[in-house]
Every structure is written in structure tokens, then in C-alpha cells.
Amino acid sequence: MGWLGRTLNSSIGKKTVMAVTGLSLGLFVAAHLAGLTSIFRGRVAFAAYADRLHDLALLLRLGEIFLLVVFLLHITVGLLLFLENRRAKPIRYAVRNSASGQTWGSQTMPYTGLCLLLFLGYHLASFSLNDYAPIDVLLRESLAQPATGTFYLIALLALGLHLSHGLWSSLQSLGLSHPKYDQFLESGGVGISVFITTLFSLIPILALFWPGFLG
């Protein structure tokens, strides 16, 4: 194994892969959200955004391939870490009593990750791989169903929890820590997660409760 293989195979190497892919996915989520804010400006603006996005053709394809690779790396290495970590603690304590280092986000990383993976499959199947109707009609009709809307809200909660730990954790894994900025990085990570989750959640909430949504 060469030096690169040895590095990436080490514990810190795997955490670095998780951090870099995680931050890339975070950037994608932010870009996706930025595009989707066109929904708040009505059906015409949203359809125009979708058209402009699809006009990118080759660039969009390349982006999708990049995302696929990043996703696969994040999932594979994440699963590997999950299994290794379980093996490293074969017997749990009779009493578990966190000394308050853990957060809801940090404790549930593998599970919120799995939840997001399931959501991703459903989300791609219902939008990217489905072209029986224009995108705005698809979105309105699917999200107006209470079951689908609720599922989206649950998935967004998982996203928020995952990001609330993941953003800061990525920086820590990359060694970014400084007495002057630590507090800012930690609260910043949580703040960004709350902001992203809230803004995303407005879409299913509007679809569920506002009859004029994308009308």
C-alpha cells in the first residue's frame, strides 16, 4: 500500500474522508436550497429555475457524477467507521450516563445518516427519475399528501440533526480548532443547520397547509 492508501486507511484518514465528503454534501444541500427558494416566488419562477438548471446539460451531468462519487464515499466510509466503532466497544455499560459531551446530533449520526439515505432514494425516484408531469405539478401533488409531507418533514429533521453535529465535527476532524474561533465554529454549525432545516421545511409545510401553493 502506498503512502496515500496508508493515510486514507488510518483512523484519521477515514475521518478526513468523512469530513471532506460531508462538507461537499453540505455545500450541495446549501446550493439545492438556494435554487429551491425560487418556489417562494411562485410557480413561474420555480419552473424558470428548473429550466435554467436543465439547460446546463453537460455541466449538470458532471455535477451529478461528482455528487454520486462523494455520496458513495461518505456512505461507505461512514458504514466502515460505524462497524469498527461497534467492534471497539463490544460490551456496553450497565448504566449509560453521558457527561454531557454528547448531543442529540452526535449520538444519532449513523441513524440520521441512514434516514437521509432512505429519503434520498425516495426523493430521486419521485423527482429526478420521474417525468410524467412538469416539476412544479409533481412537487405540488406529492407534497400535498399528508403522508409524503410528513415523511419530508421527518427527513428534514434528520438532516438538521446530522448537520448540527456534522458541520463542526468536520472542521474538528480536519484539525480546524483555535481558542478564538472554537465557540464561533460550534454555534455557527448549529445555526446553519437550524437555518437550512427551517427554510427547507417551509416547502412541505406550505404544500400541506396552503391551498394556493405553486398555484
Binding site: W3, R6, T7, S10, S11, I12, G13, K14, K15, T16, L81, E84, N85, R87, A88, K89, P90, I91, R92, Y93, A94, V95, R96, N97, S98, A99, S100, G101, Q102, T103, S106, Q107, M109, H165, W168, S169, Q172, S173, L174, G175, L176, S177, P179, D182
Partner: protein
């Protein structure tokens, strides 16, 4: 003042023997007793009754050697912050409390007997590079190598680690990153540590990976459990040191 406690203690005759909790009534205990003195009293009673005493590790009794340690009600070294088990006193408990006492648990820490665990995996990490190579001879003049006071303080904060293993015990993943981070940091911060800095980061991290410890999940349980409050900034520094050594040095 005296209190009565119910003690549920993990009893395991040997490394491969099955273990189980046994329950003991403490009888009246002075709140001035230390946790380990309480175990001594229990052991005296068990010995007189012809039973096997509870095996536990201890040495200095001052919280500076890192020998003692057990998990009390889910917390390594018990519920009081910045305190080793030997410095934990019964005044922190109430009459009628039940204490569940378990050994430090991690795959890298084999249970020898009852509450005694083999923490030599931590020594293996030190052996891989937690030292400086210097030619011995007469002691050098104290100020030959200038070290700024804040730097010396930072290195000392890392060097406070007593290697008790509470970080590994507290980590949900059984990782030894806080320990390794502190040991790499205390030398990386000082001029004396520079010549071996790169090699040290690579060797110590690889030794750690090979000993059955888990991976850091940045959950900060180690920092909260550490009797010396070693900061997770030491883990960030270890990450930096290792990535720098891997990607930006000629060492492999």
C-alpha cells in the same frame, strides 16, 4: 456523618471467565471516607467471611498517577468533575444511594479481574513515539533553548494527562484520541519535540490504530470525563499533526 450504600459491583474471576454484578450492602460508612477506602472496608469484610475480595487498581491516592479508575453509575471516575476515583469522597453521595461499579470497558482494555483492566495498550502508543531522543550527559543550562511562557503552559496542559484511560472508557467508540492527542501535543508544542515531530505523529497514530481502539466521533465525552480536563483541542492538533506528516512531509 454516616451513610449506607448499596454497591453493585462487577465481579469477574479472570480475563476469559464470565462476569456478573454482585450486590453488597455497605453498612454505615463515614462520609469522610474515600471511594477506595470504602472498597477496602468491603474487602476486609469479604476476606473475613472467606470470600474473594474485589480486585481494583490504585497507587498514589492523590490523583496524579493514573492507576485507579472504575465506572461509577455510568461515569468513569464517578460523578464529580476533574476527579480521579481515589480523590472521590463519599460526601458526594446520599444515604441509600445505589452505586453501580463497573470496570473501564473497551476492546483495547482487557479485563484482568473484577475492576482491574489491562491498559498497557496506552503504553504501546507511547513506545511508538511519545518520547524525545537526546544524548545524555551533564544537564544543559536551563535557558539554552528559549521557550515562551504561554507555549510552556500549553505543553504543560497537555502533559497533565495521567494516562488513566478514562477517555477511552467514556468514549462511545472506545477511541484513544484524547490520550494520543495529549501525548503528541506535549512534545509537538516544544522545541525539544521538533526533530521527531513528523515521525512521532505517524508512528503513534498507527500504533493506536493497530491496538483495537475505535475512531473519534467528536462526541466530546472524553473531555468531559477526563480527571485532568484535557481539551479536545489536543485531538484537533493530533489531526493536524498527522495530516501534515502524511501529506506535506517526506516521511512515509
Amino acid at each position: 456523618m454516616t451513610i449506607n450504600l448499596t454497591l453493585r459491583i462487577w465481579r469477574q474471576p479472570g480475563p476469559d471467565a464470565p462476569g456478573a454484578f454482585r450486590t453488597y450492602q455497605s453498612g454505615p460508612l463515614s462520609t469522610d471516607l474515600s471511594f477506595l477506602e470504602m472498597l477496602d472496608l468491603l474487602n476486609e469484610r469479604l476476606s473475613l467471611a472467606g470470600e474473594e475480595p474485589v480486585a481494583f487498581d490504585h497507587d498514589c491516592g492523590e490523583g496524579i498517577c493514573g492507576t485507579c479508575g472504575a465506572v461509577v453509575n455510568g461515569r468513569p471516575h464517578g460523578p464529580v468533575e476533574r476527579t480521579t476515583l481515589c480523590q472521590l469522597h463519599l460526601r458526594h453521595f446520599n444515604d441509600g444511594d445505589t452505586l453501580i461499579i463497573e470496570p473501564f470497558r473497551a476492546r483495547a482494555f482487557r479485563i484482568e479481574k473484577d475492576l482491574v483492566v489491562d491498559r498497557s495498550a496506552l503504553e504501546r502508543i507511547i513506545q511508538a513515539g511519545g518520547y524525545v531522543s537526546v544524548n545524555t550527559g551533564s544537564a544543559p543550562e536551563a535557558n539554552t533553548i528559549p521557550v515562551p511562557q504561554p507555549t510552556a503552559e500549553a505543553a504543560m496542559s497537555s502533559a497533565e494527562c495521567i494516562g488513566c484511560g478514562a477517555c477511552v472508557a467514556a468514549c462511545p467508540n472506545g477511541a484513544a484520541m484524547l490520550f494520543t492527542g495529549a501525548k503528541v501535543s506535549q512534545l509537538a508544542l516544544l522545541p525539544q519535540g521538533q526533530p521527531e515531530r513528523t515521525r512521532r505523529a505517524l508512528d503513534m497514530l498507527r500504533a493506536m490504530d493497530g491496538l483495537g481502539f475505535g475512531n473519534c466521533g467528536n462526541e466530546r465525552e472524553c473531555e468531559a470525563a477526563c480527571p485532568k480536563s484535557i481539551s479536545i483541542r489536543n485531538i484537533a492538533r493530533l489531526n493536524r499533526e498527522f495530516l501534515r506528516a502524511s501529506f506535506f512531509s517526506e516521511e512515509e
